[in-house]
């Protein structure tokens, strides 16, 4: 695999998956304007203890997801991130005042997805900003359905989880 040389910036899609068994796992997919993958970063599962849950209370998820996990993921990115999109509100709530200003993407129905805010607070404060950001993003990114890359991330996280236990199989092409 060669490097990502050639792209000056990337667009990030970040999400966090929570499971009772493993806890929280985060994934950041960095794509080019056509949606092709440039980088993928995944955290190992993080499971807060009961003490964490009690002591952090309602702030646990924004802290853990928005700050610790997403913070670590975005720090791991090799390319400067022009924009980061997420489908988890905790990312918005817990994000530090970062330069990559997270955008929340939420599905309105099964067939379409739209940008709800950029960032969340700005949507609430200035309605016009939302519209401008949406138009701007659509000029930047040639992805029809903004919720789609999150499915890729979830599948990739699942793949990473399963890869350790997958038995090796024979590869016909190798013998050629």
């Amino acid at each position: 695999m060669s490097s990502t040389k050639g792209s000056e910036t990337g667009i990030g899609f970040v999400t966090v998956v929570k499971s009772e068994e493993l806890g929280y796992v985060g994934g950041l997919l960095v794509v080019n304007p056509l949606g092709r993958p440039l980088e993928f970063h995944a955290t190992a599962p993080v499971k807060p203890s009961r003490a964490h849950e009690i002591l952090y209370g309602a702030t646990l998820e924004p802290f853990l997801v928005g700050e610790r996990i997403v913070g670590a993921l975005t720090e791991a990115a090799k390319l400067p991130l022009r924009l980061v999109l997420t489908d988890r509100r905790e990312v918005i709530d817990g994000a530090p005042a970062a330069s990559w200003g997270p955008v929340l993407v939420r599905s309105h129905d099964d067939s379409d997805a739209a940008i709800d805010s950029t960032p969340w607070e700005l949507r609430r404060a200035v309605g016009e900003f939302e519209l401008a950001a949406r138009d701007s993003l659509r000029e930047t990114l040639a992805i029809d359905d903004l919720s789609e890359p999150f499915d890729r991330i979830r599948e990739a996280l699942d793949e990473a989880r399963k890869s350790a236990s997958r038995p090796a199989t024979r590869r016909p092409g190798e013998a050629a």
Partner: protein, 606 residues
Amino acid sequence: MSGELLPRGVEGDSLLKVATFAWPMPSSSRGAERRDDSAIERPRAESRHAGQLDFAVDVTGGGCGEVANPRVASMKIAALPLKVRSFVFPEAPSFAWGNKGSDGADRDASANGARRRSKLKRRTRMKPPTDVIKLQDRLYYLLQPPLESLVSAETIRFPFEPFPYQFEGIAFLYPRHAAILADEMGLGKTMQAISTMRLLLHGREARQILLICPKPLVSNWRREFAQWAPEIPIGVIEGDAAKRSWQWRQPGTPIKIANYELLMRDRDEVLAPDLHFDLVVLDEAQRIKNRSGTTNKIVTSIRRTRSWALTGTPVENSLDDLVGIFDFLSEGYLRPGMHPRTIAREVREYVLRRTKDMVLEDMPPKLYRDEEIDLSPEQAETYAQAEDSGVIRLNELGDSMTVQHVFELVLRLKQICNFDPSTGASSKLERLEADLAEVAASGQKAIVFSQWVKTIEKLRPRLEPFGPLEYHGKIASPKRDAILQRFKEDPKSHVLLMSYGAGSVGLNLQFCRYVFLFDRWWNPAIEDQAINRAHRIGAAGSVTVTRMTSANTIEQRIHDVLQQKRELFETVFSETGAPGNIGLTQDEIFGLFNLATPKGPIRRAG
């Protein structure tokens, strides 16, 4: 470091107990609920990942100052460990060939994509094959965007949008180093293969590709490349030896097209130690089914990284055909004599087979008419004499009888079913004339297939009213395209007479609504290929296939045996979707006449 809630100087046992806790310190300002705890002196965290926060609470509920030293129980809440694993992928230039650089193409594609956004409901995603082991490689395929987005964003232009199953075919081929695309004829294997090659070249995952096809199909591939990948330079290996030698080593043509026949002559060139291809694609891959054949030996020896086979009929005669094709994918992966169910399990990952019934809901129907036609009195008399004397002769041969002897008798009887050799009488031809009159009257066109060029030549004079054209092995290759063009455009030309050999593969005649099988081929797979010249994508309407069989003859017996075998193999291959088309074995050919093979008696079929 802890924030003390208690007055200093209190010692000894105390009713007041304090527990101290520590946990990671958030780096940014939090909500009001955490800013309100100003009564506790908090440490400054060094970093948000490593920082610890100590916390002290009065666990006794007490608060009186003068009593005694409180007991302090401390507990650290460890920072939650966080490990990040990173994968970096190659950024492929979007257009390796064309007028624009990759950056420009990206920007244009984005803008076009913005203009052309539509609500795409279908997403076809690549799935890494099970033989891709490395997680980095698996994630690379898994994280690719849906193929439909390429069309939507105009990253790569298609003359028209592929069908969903064609996207699935591309998604199947793209990540595979070994693959057989075995779609039924007419579903667009060519387009799927070309589009995937195109994506691999644009993605710089392949730089040198060799496509090998039968010689008559070279011009067809050239046309299809011009339509589906116009920006990709292709080179056809042809001409004299010196020119070919130069062409084999031309780096400027990422796709080279060679024909099977030529490989024999250019064996030394193509097998040269320093010649390597990123991908070798075999069209009509059943050509290498014979494992001991020279063609098989040569193609399996070509140095290559990826191996793809395209065929509508990976199993023509027996499962060993599939073994031969897998020799190209990976020698020894399948072995002759393996149990069919084992083969089905082993090949599942590497074979993609779809039929029209499976994928094309709006495909016009294909209607079969089995015409059982009685022989004319002259034919019947000749036939009976030939069969009786032939069987007697075979029995006389005893142990020296071979399948070739039986084969000769079968061919002779089949020819009589077409025409009486002495009088030229043919009840099939009479029926065909009547049928074609209807076809011509309705302004439609028909293809008539026969096993023999001689039969075609005999048919032509009687079919003159319908403007017949011929397309078979005796027609020189340079003239063939013109014949097809005339058949398509000349309103007076209603019938094309084709041999199975020349006209069964690679031709697009979907403007024909009628197909006549004047005689029957040994193998239903070949018949299917012939029928699918007309019944394919773009067919204007239903296609009526008339299978002409002489009643109570060898033709009917062959038909019955093949029908039984088709049903058997469809059952066996139902799991993988592999085709159920299969020909006659040696024993079955003997069985047509209730003969005993030199190895012992066998049951007569039918």
